[in-house]
C-alpha cells in the first residue's frame, strides 16, 4: 500500500514541477538555517573535550562593584578572583586564567598574531587538553614566573614549520619576550570560550606584579566541584564570601557576581538588567520561540501551497470517493505524500548544511572551527522535518476529506 502511495506521490509532484520545486526550496532552506543554528549553538555550549568536567564545574566571568555614587561592571580581575574564589572550601580545584589577548610576534620580518592566554597550574588539571608533545607547566612555574609556554599545533606549524620535528624545548618570541616551549596541544576552536588559545603562559611571567591587586577586568575563574550534587553548595559559599569580603576601593560597597555555567552567564548578560540573577530558562524559551516563529512562516505558506495542490485534484478525489475509498485512506495518502516531500527537502537541507559547515571550517572565518553534525543534531533535524510535514499537511487533508464526491466530480472545489 505504501508503495502505491509513494508512486502516486511522485507522479503528482512531478505534474506541477514548478510548485514542487519551490516547496522543496523553502523546506530545504528553512531546515538549512535551523541545522546551522543548532550546530553553532552546539559548538559553543555542549560539553566537548577539553571541557570534560563541564557537568561539575562553574565559571566566574562577571563582576559588578557598586557604591552609593558609582558602579563598575565587567570581567573580574585577578585580585578579586584570588581573594574570593581561590580558597573556596567546598571546591575540589580552582583555576584562574586570563582572557585571550592578541599578541604580536615578528618572524623574519613577517608579523604574526596569536591569541595569548595566561593561566595558572590548576588550569591543566581541570581541562583535559590533548597533548601531542610534552606536558603542561605547573603551579611552581607560575609562582616563579618562569618564561615557559604551551602552544597549539597551528602555532607550532606557524613558528617552526609543519615538518620541523618536535617543538618542545625550542623558544619562541611573543609580545616582546622569549618563552621556552614545554608542550604542544591539539587546536581548540574559538567557540570554546574557556580553553581556546594559541599560546598559554604562566600568569606570573608578566613583567610586573600590578595584576595581583587589580580587581577589574581581564580574568576569569573555573571552579571544579567534587560532584554535581555539590554545585549548589559551592555557589552558596561563593555568595557568602562576596558579602563578607573587604573591597580595596572605598568608593564601592557591594560585590555582585555569580559562579555558574556558561549558558547561565550568557543569559545573565543578555537578559538580566541587574546582573545578579541569571535566567537560563528564559533564554532557552526565547531561543525555542525564535526557532518556532522562524519555521512558522514557511509552514503557513506551505499549507496554502498544499491546499492548492490537493484541490486541483478534486475530480480524482471525487472518483475515488465514489468508488468507496474512505476519508481515512485519502487523508493517509495525502499525509504520506507530504511527509515524503518534506523528508526529501530535509535531506537536501542536511546535505547543504554539511557543505556550508565544511566551507566555514575550510575558510578561516572561525579559527579552528570544528562542527560536528552528530546524532543529536541529526535527530533534531529529522524531527523538525517530520513536524513540518505533518503540520503543513493536516489542514489541507481535512479540507479534502470534506469534499462531496458529486461536487468534486463536477470540478468544483468547495
Amino acid at each position: 500500500m505504501l508503495r502505491n502511495y509513494l508512486k502516486t506521490a511522485l507522479r503528482v509532484l512531478l505534474r506541477r514541477k514548478f510548485y514542487t520545486f519551490i516547496s522543496l526550496f523553502a523546506i530545504s532552506f528553512t531546515l538549512l538555517v535551523v541545522t546551522l543554528a543548532t550546530a553553532m549553538l552546539d559548538s559553543i555550549f555542549a560539553p566537548y573535550p577539553p571541557e570534560v568536567h563541564a557537568d561539575r564545574s562553574l565559571l566566574v566571568m562577571s563582576l559588578r562593584m557598586s557604591g552609593p555614587k558609582a558602579s563598575q561592571e565587567g570581567g573580574p580581575g585577578y585580585g578579586f578572583l584570588d581573594r574570593c574564589v581561590r580558597g573556596l572550601a567546598s571546591a575540589e580545584r580552582v583555576s584562574i586564567f586570563s582572557d585571550p589577548d592578541e599578541a604580536v610576534s615578528f618572524l623574519d620580518g613577517r608579523k604574526v598574531k596569536s591569541f595569548l592566554r595566561r593561566t595558572d597550574g590548576e588550569y591543566w588539571k581541570i581541562l583535559e587538553f590533548d597533548f601531542v608533545e610534552g606536558e603542561p607547566f605547573t603551579a611552581a612555574d607560575d609562582r616563579e614566573g618562569n618564561p615557559v609556554a604551551v602552544i597549539n599545533e597551528a602555532t607550532r606549524d606557524r613558528f617552526f614549520g609543519a615538518n620541523a620535528g618536535p617543538a618542545a624545548g625550542k623558544s619562541l618570541e611573543v609580545a616582546g619576550r622569549s618563552f621556552r616551549v614545554v608542550g604542544v596541544v591539539r587546536n581548540v576552536p574559538i567557540t570554546r570560550i574557556v580553553p581556546f588559545g594559541d599560546i598559554w603562559v604562566p600568569i606570573g611571567s608578566q613583567p610586573n606584579d600590578a595584576y595581583k591587586s587589580d580587581w577589574s577586568s581581564g580574568y576569569a575563574a573555573v571552579v571544579l566541584a567534587p560532584s554535581r550534587k555539590d554545585l549548589p553548595r559551592v555557589q552558596a559559599e561563593f555568595q557568602e564570601r562576596l558579602k563578607t569580603t573587604q573591597i580595596p576601593d572605598p568608593e564601592y560597597t557591594t560585590l555582585t557576581s555569580g559562579a555558574e555555567t556558561l549558558f547561565e552567564t550568557v543569559s545573565r548578560n543578555l537578559l538580566s538588567a541587574r546582573l545578579d540573577e541569571s535566567r537560563p530558562g528564559l533564554l532557552r524559551a526565547i531561543v525555542i520561540l525564535v526557532l518556532v516563529l522562524f519555521m512558522a512562516l514557511p509552514t503557513l505558506n506551505l499549507v496554502n501551497l498544499n491546499l492548492s495542490r490537493i484541490l486541483e485534484r478534486a475530480p480524482e478525489i471525487g472518483v475515488r470517493k465514489a468508488f468507496g475509498a474512505s476519508s481515512l485512506t485519502l487523508v493517509g495518502q495525502f499525509v504520506v505524500e507530504n511527509v515524503f516531500l518534506t523528508l526529501v527537502g530535509g535531506a537536501l537541507g542536511w546535505i547543504l548544511s554539511a557543505l556550508v559547515l565544511a566551507a566555514v571550517e575550510a575558510s578561516d572565518l572561525i579559527p579552528y572551527a570544528h562542527f560536528q553534525l552528530n546524532l543529536r543534531i541529526l535527530a533534531w533535524g529529522v524531527l523538525t522535518a517530520l513536524f513540518f510535514g505533518v503540520l503543513s499537511g493536516v489542514y489541507p487533508a481535512w479540507r479534502m476529506s470534506r469534499l462531496h464526491p458529486v461536487a468534486a466530480l463536477r470540478g468544483a472545489s468547495e
Partner: protein, 397 residues
Amino acid sequence: MIRHLLKLAWNRKKSNVLVVVEVFASFLVVFVVATSVAYVATNAKLKLGFDARDVWSVRCDSGVSHHEGEGLEHYSEMDRLVREVAAVPGVERATGTFAVPYQNSRAVTSLPKDGSHLQVEFLDVDDAFADVFRIQLTRGRWFGPEDEGRSWRPVVLNRRLAGALFGDEDPIGRPLPRNEGDGESRVVGIVEEFRMAGELSAAELFLLRRIEPAQAGTIPPRNVTLRVAPESGTDLEQAILARMRAVDPSKTYELRRIDDMRAEYFRMRLAPLLVGGLVAVFLLMMVALGLLGVLWQNVTRRTRELALRRSAGASGADIRRQILLEVLLTTTPGVLLGTLLVVQIPMLDLMPSLRGVAVSIGLLIAVGAIYALTTVCALYPAWMAMRVLPAEALRCE
C-alpha cells in the same frame, strides 16, 4: 474594474491575510536595511577632518587600574616614551593621545547654551597632534609652545560647534561657555570637521582641547600615536617596540596600525547590515512563496470564471492584467501600513541623527522592492490563467 477586484479580494480575505502580514514584515525589514545603508552612505560622503594613513598607535599598559595610574611620575614616563619614539629613524612625528580614531570610545561633555546644554564630543590633545594627523585649520591656529603657562585653556572647534555656539560671529579669541567649577577656555582655531568615530558614523559637535599640564589626580595619555614614512614595514614596528621596551620595561606595549583599525571598524559597521540583508532576503522569499501559493489557489479555483471571461471576448493579455492587478491589490495594504508606520520617524523626529534623505531613499527602495517582487511572482500564475481554454473549462458542467 478596481472596485470589482477589491470585492473579490475582500471575499477571499482569509487567505490574503497571511500575505498581507508577510508583506508588512518584509517591508519593514527591507526599509530598515535600505535606510541603514543610505545613512552610512550619506555619512561617508562628509569630510573626515584628518588623515590617518601611515599613522600607527602604541597602547602602553602599565597593568594598573584607573586610580593607581594617577601620579606625576606617570606623566613624565609617558613624555619620555613619546620623545624616544619620535627619535626612532623612520618616525616623522609622535604625540601622546588618550584615544585614537575608529575605536568605539567617546568622551562627551556638556556646555551650557541658552538655558539648556549642548552635548559635545571632545578630545584632549597636545601640540604635535595636528602634524601627526595632518589637520588643516580653516581659521586661526593650532596649539603651540606659546600656549604654555596660560591662565586659560586653548581649544579648537569644528565648524558645526562654532556655528552652534557663536552663530555667524568670529569665534577666534572668544571664551567658551562653561559650567560651574570649570576653568576658562578660549577658541584659538577652527577646523572644518573632525569625525573621530570614522567615516560611517554621524557627524557631531567636536571640541579639541589642549592637554592640561601634569596635575595630581589625573591620568596621563595611554597611547603613543605616531606618523611614519609611507611604505614602512614590520622592521620599523619591531624597532619602535624594542626602543619602548628598553626605555620602560615595566609596561606592555601593543602596536596597531590605524589602517587596520579602520578596516576592523568598517567590518564591524557593515556586518549587522549584512545580517539584516540576509533576514530581509529570507522574508522576501517567504512573501514570494506565500503569493505564489495564494495565486495558484485563485487560478485553479476560478478556471470557469476566467474561461467565461475569455469566451465573452477578453484576450489573454486582459486576463494577465487582471491577475497582476489583483496581486498589486493584495500587496498594497501591507505596503501602506508599513509606510504609515515608517513615515512617523521623520515626522515626529524620533531619530534626530537620521536624516530625511536616508529615510526617503530607504522608503523608495522598500516600496520598489516589494512591488517588483510581487509582479515577478504574478507572472507564472498569470501565464497559467491565460492558458485556460474556455471550451475545456466550461465543459465540466
